[in-house]
Symmetry: C2
Subunit: 374 residues, 2 copies
């Protein structure tokens, strides 16, 4: 992957190329050995006039043509969706080496400093009901229900920034205190600026290879144990929480035959402080209702029972939509290979990524969970 | 599929829903039996603010949630790409019933009457180098090389419109004469208005099912023999023609073990009159250089050796980008089932669809070929 950040002088092909070359170099392969590509991006059409052909553009820059290149989009989970399609392409038996690419460039947005709105939510966004506003309501309901405080939630930002200090790819790496988080500009009560993930530019790539090819590579490989993706499951009679994330995670655990208790490290969709703790519960990383407890006990910090967002998460790494899901894969693979340096989770053998996105008809539009093991 | 045309009062979900319900009804299934969806669209982000979530929107309208829904985009071949992904999803063994959906609404374009430009070609388009201008150069080179005339090319439009007369889904069904084609407004010499496909609104859907499910259905099913998709293969030293289409077709024939001579009916990407005859050659439906001969001999008309564009093609049906590739599948399936009525190709047992799109670095960005049999 590329470092995430704001790179006014770099284009999609430039960022994507760096990620692609890093991925093939890491595997000891040449980019011409890639047999198919899935490229995830979520806002390149509306921002850069590239609704189609982002993958082709990047692969042409890498000198690769004449292979299947498919663009996929699924809101903030576009990268996760590209990764899933790469896994499925290998599962068909048609290919041994498939590249998942995620790339996004958000620093060109004309409405700088304003939160992104989701496709189909422009009217709501125009009147202020943006994702931070929605998740502020989620946070208020969560605090009301659990008795936790805004100060507790701020610990997510503090923890993730402490993790980011050791990640050279993270956009923000300076440690934060809870006072700084709570004292930053108020966006939507109780979410302050530092309770929300920044956007940014960046790219990430992952090679998915067949068992046969994995055996040939002179590199420690990580097994994809489950790929689970579900669109909104909204049930108007259901109450509270993110049902779609729960169902997606359940399906992943079932597919893999892995118990949630066996997960050693996870990257979850911490777009806002509150979402991370809710996701601990949805993804069965802690008992229902115990999200804040798991956080405050240090269970989800480095050195704890199940470190979450060891990369710094979206909160510190930034959230270049299409790249995010594959950057999560990058972190989990790095951890499971034991190559995470100062942020290494000891004896990590099973990991999880979770990315969600979009709104549709009163529900989350898409949720993706992947499970990995060594 | 829906009829193609201009439907100012209908939205993406409305058009998509009609296509989805028609597809599941035809199979004798209920939409809740669909296990995964791939939705192809190419311009919904820039025109309608829906770069993500078109598939989710349509499936929610159909009352279906909680399944994997993935958006795919690949220029004019977005629908073909969605179909290919559906085929591959069934190939993984994870699903028995996967829906490919293509939907597009182009009648909302602010620059009505002007040709669409391809992503990444906006600068060229601004100065007039639009797809019709490019294909006019292609046509001039082809006429120069083959000694054919503009009058000969016009016969593509005449033939396809004659086919369209019998297709209730086609946007234009009134028979045309060569005089009318040549006498219509000049767009880019030698391509007149009626030598170019119209755009439009529409949706198409196809159910891809496993062998196991096919046996359970009380409906004649058609076998997908090959799915081939390649991005531009441009070789600056190569001369003439569309190398990527040739390579994509070769790969499809090889995958299927089908000889080009065995194809009984084909839908090719006749975005312009000249492209259809060139595609006869690229797709090996006739010997190299014999495209015009095949056309003028009536080999590719209904009743001929290998009828092409029996649906009326893009030329008469219209070209709502994301829907086009799946509408081609609709026609071939209808033909191979023997349900095409007045436009039925007798004893058709093998069919081909071909869709291409986009430009990139001096080459076609994507080409898709599917082969089918009964």
């Amino acid at each position: 992957m590329t470092p995430f950040g704001k790179f006014p002088d770099r284009g999609l092909e430039d960022l994507g190329l760096e990620a692609v070359l890093a991925a093939v170099d890491d595997a000891g392969l040449h980019q011409r050995e890639v047999q198919a590509v899935y490229a995830g991006h979520a806002r390149t059409g509306r921002l850069l006039g590239r609704e189609n052909g982002v993958g082709q553009l990047v692969m042409a820059a890498a000198g690769v043509r004449g292979i299947p290149v498919t663009g996929v989009g699924n809101f903030c989970a576009s990268g996760s969706t590209a990764f899933r399609e790469a896994v499925m392409a290998v599962m068909t038996g048609l290919y041994d080496v498939v590249l998942a690419l995620g790339v996004e460039k958000l620093s060109v947005r004309p409405e700088k400093g304003k939160p992104l709105t989701s496709d189909g939510m422009e009217l709501e966004g125009e009147f202020g009901f943006t994702p931070p506003a929605f998740f502020a309501l989620v946070a208020q309901a969560y605090l009301e229900k659990t008795g936790a405080s805004a100060d507790d939630l701020a610990q997510v930002a503090v923890k993730n920034r402490a993790h980011a200090e050791h990640n050279p790819y993270a956009q923000y790496r300076k440690p934060l205190t809870a006072e700084e988080v709570l004292g930053s500009r108020m966006i939507a009560d109780p979410l302050t600026l530092l309770s929300c993930c920044p956007t940014g530019d960046g790219a990430a790539a992952a090679l998915v290879v067949s068992d046969r090819m994995a055996r040939r590579l002179d590199r420690k490989t990580v097994r994809v144990e489950a790929t689970s993706l579900l669109s909104g499951c909204g049930d108007p009679t259901a109450t509270g929480g993110f049902e779609v994330d729960r169902k997606t995670a359940h399906a992943a655990y079932e597919q893999a035959g892995i118990d949630p208790g066996d997960i050693d490290v996870a990257e979850v969709h911490d777009a806002f402080t509150v979402t991370e703790v809710i996701h601990y519960e949805d993804l069965l990383l802690c008992p229902p209702g115990d999200g804040v407890k798991a956080l405050l006990d240090g269970q989800t910090a480095l050195g704890g029972r199940i470190p979450v967002s060891t990369s710094g998460g979206l909160m510190s790494k930034g959230h270049p939509l299409g790249a995010t899901g594959i950057a999560q894969v990058h972190e989990i693979v790095t951890q499971l290979r034991g190559e995470a340096g100062a942020r290494q989770v000891e004896r990590a053998t099973a990991g999880l990524t979770h990315c969600a996105g979009g709104f549709l008809d009163g529900d989350v539009a898409i949720s993706a969970v992947h499970l990995f093991s060594v």
